[in-house]
Amino acid sequence: MSANRYLPAARNVAQAFPGILAQLGLKPFISRFVLTETEQGNAWLFVVLEVGPLQHPEDYTADNVLHYLSTALRGLPVVISDSYGLRYAVLLSSVN
């Protein structure tokens, strides 16, 4: 399976993401967008952040922030992945 079919959706999400963070009062320290698709068919868009300790990383991982992002992305599931860095994971496909 190729992740290319999720590329337009991924671009739309990537385009909207900085603005949504700005609406929350958070500076969009986004370094890259990574799209991948698992063997089970789950397409994930990882929004990699470069947030230093002085930028209060906990502000980016709050539950209300995740809920706001998911709502702004029309209900796409958004979770935080904070091992070895900080990133948002947006599930573009349906849950398999």
């Binding site: 890259r32 799209l35 991948t36 994930w44 990133r87 849950v95």
Partner: protein, 307 residues
């Protein structure tokens, strides 16, 4: 002391007399023994008597001397007692004199107080009498004034009764009444005019103050709002000028914008001007595997939580 001294002197005399008698009878050295040698007992007796008399006289003299001494001692004691008593008497006399002086002073004070009271009473009586006389005088004067006024009233009544009212006093009275009425009317008219005028002027001043305040607030509010929103920006810059409700910065051309260094984190790398760059990486990459695992765990956890 005197009696005791006399008794002691008497006892001494008697003692010496008894001793002299015993000496006359027993003493071998006495002239009685001599009388054996000389056949003149009378002489011996006479000598004895004379000796005894001398002895007696001597004893008497000694007793007298002792008595004198005793008397002197008694006299000395008496003298001391007398002196003591005299001193006591003098002190008592002095105290009595002092007491007498105090009493005299007290009596004098009482007398002076009594005199002052009498004088004050006399003055009070005099003042009372003067007031009484003055009241009487005033009463008499008032009575006289009342009498005069009663007389004048009676005269006026008599005159009014006797002389019919002519036109002149009536007209004068009416003119005075009219004058007073017009004066009162003028005052009331002026007051009626002034009171509403004052209310109108006060209201006008208040309205003008409100309008001025509102217009000033409208004119200066933009500047205040600008200053409040930008408290630190005008610290080292020139003041802004308000012209026709517009904030004008005359030194704007001298100000240079200093753009901050572009942070790549702000700007995702864009494929073209609109679309951000999205990397496509396979799930077999080691780092991506961890990301996916963690994300799916979180997703499942969230799903359980939501469920």
């Amino acid at each position: 002391m005197k009696i005791i001294g006399r008794r002691i002197a008497t006892l001494l005399i008697l003692t010496f007399l008894s001793l002299a008698l015993l000496a006359c009878e027993i003493d071998p050295a006495a002239p009685v023994i001599v009388s054996f040698d000389t056949p003149q007992p009378y002489a011996a007796a006479q000598s004895t008597l004379e000796y005894g008399q001398r002895q007696l006289e001597e004893l008497s003299h000694q007793a007298t001397m002792v008595g004198w001494n005793l008397a002197q001692a008694a006299n000395a004691a008496e003298q001391a007692t007398l002196e003591y008593n005299q001193r006591q008497m003098m002190e008592l006399a002095y105290q009595a004199t002092a007491v007498s002086l105090n009493m005299a002073q007290a009596a004098a004070t009482q007398q002076s107080i009594a005199n002052a009271a009498a004088i004050a009473q006399s003055q009070a009586a005099t003042a009372t009498y003067s007031a009484y006389i003055r009241n009487i005088t005033q009463t008499a004067q008032a009575q006289a004034i009342l009498n005069v006024r009663a007389t004048q009233t009676a005269q006026a009544i008599a005159a009014l009764t006797a002389i019919p009212l002519t036109i002149t006093p009536l007209a004068e009275t009416q003119a005075a009444i009219l004058f007073e009425q017009r004066k009162y009317e003028r005052q009331s008219n002026w007051g009626e005019l002034i009171t509403p005028l004052m209310i109108i002027l006060t209201t006008l001043v208040i309205v003008l103050l409100i309008v001025g305040g509102v217009s000033a607030f409208r004119r200066f509010m933009p500047v205040l709002e600008f200053r409040m929103r930008n408290p630190g920006e005008n610290g080292d810059q020139s003041d802004l000028i308000l012209i026709d409700g517009m904030i004008v910065d005359l030194d704007a051309r001298h100000r240079r914008l200093t753009p901050s260094e572009p942070n790549q984190a702000y700007l995702p790398q864009l494929q073209d001007e609109e679309m951000p760059l999205v990397e496509i990486i396979g799930p077999s990459e080691p780092s991506i595997i961890n990301w996916i695992t963690e994300a799916e765990q979180k997703l499942r956890a969230d799903g359980k939580t939501q469920a």
